[in-house]
Each structure stands twice: as C-alpha cells, then as structure tokens.
C-alpha cells in the first residue's frame, strides 16, 4: 500500500544562514527558488513522509562512535549546531515506517545503527526547514551516512541502501507516499587549504550523472578523485547515490545550480523520478 513518490537532491550549506547576503539578491533568490521548487514538488506529489539522507560533519558523532549508516527511529529534534535563522524544534518522525525499514534492512543483511533519540545537524535541518515544512504536514525519517569521517560508507553500499529502503517502502502494509531528499553539497573543500574554491565543471558532471541515472559513474569514481576534483565535502554525493537507489530511476531533471564560492560550495538541486 505504501509507494515511492520520488526523490530530490539539495545542498545544506550552513553559510546560507551565517552569511545570508553574501551572494547578492539575484543569486540568493535563485537558491531560495530552488528550495521552494522542491517544496512545491513535494506538495504536488502528495508526499506524506520524507526520508532525509544527511551527512555528519564530525558534530553528532565523535571519535568514540562513528556509525556507517544510522536511522532515527524515535524522537527527533534539532539542530545540534545552532545557526542564526535555523529554528530549533521537534521534527515529527514517521517512527512506524522507520522501524519497518530498519527491520526489513536487517532481514536483507543491512544492519542499521539506530537512534531512539536523535538531535540532527544542519544536513537534515536545512531541507526540513526549507523544503519539507513549507510543503505541509509531512513526517520525516532522518538517515545519516558516513560521508565525511573515515571510515566512509562505500558508495555502492549507499546506493544499495537506497534500493533496500525503497523495497521496504513497497512492502509496508499501510498507506504512505514516500519521498526522499539526498542532502549534500557538491564541490566544497571543508577545512582544507582550497576552501572557497568551487569546481563548476565537476559539479555539472555530477548533476548530469544524477539526473540521467548513471550511478555507476559516481560509484566508480574513487574517493581520491572526488577529493581532488570536488574536495572532501563532495564525498557527500553518497546521499545522492542513496536517492538514486531509492527511485531506481533512469531519469530526472535539474532544478538549479549555483556556484557559490562565497558559501564555499557548489549548490546543486535536482529531482529524480520514480521508476
């Protein structure tokens, strides 16, 4: 009875909040309109639950515990990292579906780490505030992939987890229309000497692979190549791969792209159609 509605990829750049005017009016409006487009599409798709796939930034998880992939299956709130304009609050979790996805994953051999009480960071809070809340009374399932701290989750595993989540949704015995947001920037060198650089050619190539459903191109790209071309932040394309696995789609459309060296990130937005 439950079904996949579609998926999106969006960035979660915290500098949008700490330096809101850095891009000037026109480029800022472009970014805002991209988020608004995702909100509008979530509404048009009549989604009622949104899985948000984020990346920890060595904030939520420390050296004493680094999960490969984790799902919030209980109480959810945020953000843990306070940013001006990012409103602190409770996020309504679709606990029933989250626990079902976890148990189905376990049955298939995907041993999810879980959090019964999770305080999310900006990688979930930004899409929550800018895309999901404006779309209506939707519930959320937060997921974190190890995309920024070693050991990184393998890219193939990120894709496979998305596919497994979709299979679980299709098996869920209650009515749901489930969308997914893969949350991550494209090129950005966080804390590296190149911080502030944006590689538009790399960003454009990544978006092309996402909307054409060419997951193999992203999976076979080595992490060393990703860091060389897109910085350590671009390792977050694992969230995009999860979205691609979730829709199983071979088509999508670009919503927008804004190279933002002022915000140290290439910002890409796209929709992935369900198969």
């Amino acid at each position: 009875m439950a079904k996949v509605a579609g998926a999106f990829v969006v960035p979660h750049d915290p500098l949008m909040f700490t330096s809101p005017d850095a891009l000037g009016v026109k480029r800022r409006e472009h970014v805002d309109n991209c988020y608004a487009t995702v909100a509008k599409r979530l509404n048009q798709l009549a989604a009622d639950t949104v899985i948000v796939v984020g990346a920890d930034h060595y904030i939520m998880f420390g050296p004493d515990c680094l999960p490969q992939y984790l799902m919030g299956i209980g109480d959810v709130e945020g953000p843990i990292d306070r940013l001006p304009g990012l409103t602190k609050g409770v996020i309504p979790n679709d606990q029933e579906l989250a626990q079902f996805i976890r148990s189905e994953g376990s049955r298939e051999g995907y041993d999810w780490a879980v959090a019964n009480s999770l305080v999310v960071d900006h990688s979930v809070m930004v899409p929550w505030q800018l895309c999901i809340q404006p779309a209506g009374d939707l519930k959320v399932i937060p997921i974190y992939l190890a995309s920024g701290v070693e050991p990184l989750v393998p890219k193939q595993r990120a894709y496979d987890l998305g596919a497994a989540a979709a299979r679980a949704v299709h098996k869920f015995p209650k009515s749901r229309n489930v969308a997914l947001i893969g949350s991550g920037g494209i090129s950005h060198w966080v804390g590296m000497a190149e911080m502030g650089k944006v590689n538009t050619a790399f960003d454009t190539w990544v978006l092309e692979q996402v909307i054409s459903g060419n997951e193999k191109a992203l999976i076979t790209l080595s992490d060393e190549d990703i860091i060389r071309q897109g910085g350590n932040g671009a390792l977050e394309i694992r969230s995009f791969l999860f979205a691609m696995g979730f829709t199983g789609g071979r088509s999508g459309c670009a919503i927008g792209y804004e190279p933002a060296p002022e915000w140290i990130t290439g910002l890409g937005f796209a929709e992935l159609y369900k198969t």
């Binding site: 050296p63 701290v149 000497a193 350590n232």
Partner: protein, 90 residues
C-alpha cells in the same frame, strides 16, 4: 603521533562548551586528560592546524576548533594559515 587523541581533543573543543571553558581556564590540566605527545600539546595551544592536517586530522575538526577558539574566529584567517607546503612536509 597520536591521531586518535588529537581528533578526540579537537572534537571535544568543537562541540562541548564545557571543554572550551576548561581549556580556557587551565590549558595544562585540560590537555593532560588526553594522550597527546608533547609537540601535539603545543600544536593545540598554538593553533598549528597545518601540522595537524599533515598528521591526518580530519579538516572538519581543525576548522571547527579554529572557529570556536582562535582569537580571530575567522575562516579567512584559517585558510591563510594553511600553507600547502607545510601540509606536504609536515
């Protein structure tokens, strides 16, 4: 070199206000809680982020620690302090 201890102390300083207060109040006592080499204690006190990166510390940790604790609280100062030659040879 003790990468795990370096990452642990930077993580604590980046996410725990109490740790930052303790560090500000008594650096030696705070540093003694971590299994750091003598030179690494100096790196932490002197914001030698280039040397930390050269030792393999995650850049998200060095950036967070700098933004909270360095007197400049400046991303630009952080970036300018990173000399790629130092990272290579560190």
């Amino acid at each position: 070199m003790s990468l795990a201890a370096l990452e642990k102390i930077l993580y604590d300083l980046g996410v725990q206000g109490q740790a930052r207060k303790a560090f500000a109040n008594d650096k030696e006592a705070f540093l003694a809680q971590y299994r750091l080499e003598p030179n690494e204690k100096i790196w932490v006190c002197e914001f030698a982020v280039n040397l930390m990166l050269g030792a393999g510390v995650n850049p998200m940790l060095t950036l967070g620690y700098w933004m909270f604790l360095h007197p400049s609280h400046s991303r630009a100062h952080y970036t300018s302090s990173l000399n790629p030659e130092d990272i290579t040879n560190g």
